[in-house]
Amino acid sequence: MDGVILKAQNNDFNKGIKSFLLSGLKNGVFDSFILSMQVPAKDSYAWILTYDEGLVKSSTPISPIMTVQGARALKSLRTGTPTQKIAVVMRPCEMRAVIELSKLNQINLNDLILISYDCPGTLPIKNYLEDPEKGEEVFNKILLDWDDKNIRETCKLCDKVSVQEEKTFQSDLHITTLGIEQNNFAIISNSEKGIEILNELKLEIKNLSSRDEPVKKIIETRRKNRENSRKELIPQLIGLDALSEFFSKCINCKVCRSVCPICYCRQCYFSSEKVKYSMEDYLLQASTRGNMKFLPSLLFQVGRMTHMSLSCVNCGACEDACPMDIKVGQAFSYVGDNVQKLFDYLPGRSFEEPLPLSVYREEEFKEIEN
């Protein structure tokens, strides 16, 4: 892969990225930005849309925690933006969700320039909140050594951390640090739009083959992690009893749904009048087994799975937010992988790939027919 190499003094990638963005602003390739930024109380991060140089400078493009999944933030711009070249810096999983939502017209990609970066994973919000300052420190270290001890469980299993020849996600530009010389980072064009931008900036394109090996290694590690963790997970998910047990702690708060970038419905079916039953119905249900968890939550979980697993990007936001520490993200990711395989579909792989359920292919599912 080819790309441009830029300086990041003292390995401060955030600073390097910001100066790249600001040079883009000067050259007119960007006119505004959507970036992650520390909140005034310095204990969390939020997304801002800005064209102000000062705000860009105080932003943190690569932040230690994922609070609002980026796609959810972009969704609030779906009716249009006043600026036309908004550079958006987000994680690969956020990019993938952005692409999924764009297929449902929830995000308009026309005015956005999507910039992804090599993501080592993020810290669990809860751990970070215990001591934000320490969290910053820990994360800065992770950015350099990619040690996955302190990152979220779901991140440990993520193999879509960087761009490589085999396309697993799309953005316009990709910031890469893996395998790049100390105090440097590189930018790869990951789309037509990206190529145009790098051309416009007249930066020297260099071969970045040095990153092939480290990227491959990380991906392999992650895949192995996933395999290992799935060995444990799968038996907990197969069969109704197991599944029921898996979600038994669920308190129906539905925060998993609220933070999910893919759950786009305004009124969730499972919160609508359609699932309101009368007392008689509930009693009848309870009397078949003698007792019944009230309100039952398994149907919600399975229902949400059927609705969004095709587009699940395994961002782990749900698991991070679950007050009961259910491994909901990992469960969805497992089911999602399998469903996506059925349709040979990878959410967020490309701008053009249509949602499988919105297209009809004559040959699909032939094997099930007989």
Binding site: D52, G54, A286
Partner: protein, 372 residues
């Protein structure tokens, strides 16, 4: 109706046996109460008397506000056959607030509640030394102490007496491991209970006139003190805009607090509707007036809006804090501000089914002190 029934059994066994006998005699069709299964705790609708044994009616947890659940059970229409429900005082209060919004009905519900020592944060359920903790909890309650490790909200909650319940059990009672007392607080309860259940005595509680034994009074005043202390700590009344931003700055707009809130009864929250999405021109003017805007918008406005919408009815149950993924003390804020608002209107949510929510009625003299 100052009567109580004394039952010479430990409180949990005694209550379960009572419930079983009610089921057996078909006086009730089902029991709604807490159940614990390994590290899961949930409300359960039990119809089979053999399953009552699995229940843990007094487990100090609140997986969901029971008032909200009872509303779901009785929303479409009232219950046709009696059900006994064991819930906490704040859950009952929430339920009554919902009934005022036509979202439920007390018909045929036999409400059993307790003088409540409080509950623990819901995620404690997975802790390894939980049984030990629960034991300690009951030990404190028995000795009229406030248990440790409660929800923050429970620490400042002085509405520990479920004055509207049909049957009330005092958990702050020294003898509770050997005998306990059921206070019969309604005609409905009298229909279900009689001397076959135990010895009938005169009650030392007068729920109608708020007369309680000294140990309970002490706890209430301790909790009131706690509330004042918390108010002083957070200074909710002096936050100002910056303070609010500091407090809610972390909010990610997931709206889970509203999702679990029993008082948030709207089918579709206004803040989830398209009304609260950025419109292009609004965004443009926002960007012109400020250097940057936050995405998604209105996270703080949501909190203020919700506060506005529910503060008169907030029962301070603390569900919201429990589910907040970014650890904002939502429940404390709402409870404190709710409390002040409720004081303004002299309104106690859930106290009286007949009393209308103050924002739905107009009184000529109200808030006159703000007029100048």
């Amino acid at each position: 109706m100052n009567k109580k029934i004394k039952i010479n059994k430990s409180v949990e066994t005694g209550l379960k046996e009572l419930l079983i006998s009610l089921l057996e005699s078909r006086k009730i069709k089902a029991v709604f109460t807490l159940e614990r299964n390994k590290d899961a705790v949930y409300y359960s609708l039990i119809t089979d008397l053999e399953k009552v044994d699995q229940a843990s009616p007094f487990l100090p947890f609140m997986p969901a506000n029971g008032g909200k659940l009872l509303s779901k059970l009785t929303d479409i229409k009232s219950i046709s056959e009696p059900i006994a429900a064991v819930i906490h005082p704040c859950e009952l209060a929430a339920f009554i607030e919902l009934i005022k919004k036509q979202q439920g009905s007390l018909d045929n519900l036999l409400i059993i509640s307790s003088v409540c020592p409080g509950v623990m944060p819901i995620n404690n359920i997975s802790e390894t030394n939980l049984d030990e903790k629960i034991k300690k909890y009951f030990e404190s309650a028995k000795n009229s102490n406030i248990p440790t490790g409660l929800r923050e909200n429970c620490e400042i909650c002085s509405r520990i007496i479920p004055t509207n319940a049909d049957i009330i059990i005092n958990l702050m009672d020294k003898d509770i491991d050997n005998s306990f007392e059921l206070y019969i607080n309604s005609e409905k309860a009298e229909k279900f209970l009689g001397d076959e259940n135990g010895e009938i005595l005169d009650s030392d509680f007068d729920f109608a006139n708020n007369t309680f034994p000294q140990n309970i009074k002490d706890i209430i005043s301790q909790k009131e003190k706690n509330r004042i202390a918390v108010n002083e700590k957070y200074k909710f009344d002096q936050l100002g805009m910056d303070g609010l931003i500091d407090l809610f700055g972390k909010c990610i707009g997931c709206h889970s607090c509203g999702g679990v809130c029993p008082i948030c009864y709207c089918e579709l929250c206004d803040f989830d509707s398209a009304e609260h999405e950025y419109k292009k021109n609004v965004l443009k003017s926002d960007l012109n007036s400020r250097a940057g805007v936050r995405l998604p918008p209105n996270t703080i406005l949501y909190q203020l809006g919700r506060l506005n919408h529910i503060s008169t009815s907030c029962v301070g149950c603390g569900m919201c804090t429990d589910v907040c993924p970014v650890d904002i003390p939502v429940g404390m804020i709402f409870s404190s501000i709710g409390n002040s608002v409720q004081e303004l209107f002299k309104y106690i949510p859930g106290e009286n089914l007949e009393e209308a929510n103050p924002i739905t009625v107009y009184k000529k003299e109200e808030l006159t002190n703000f007029e100048d």
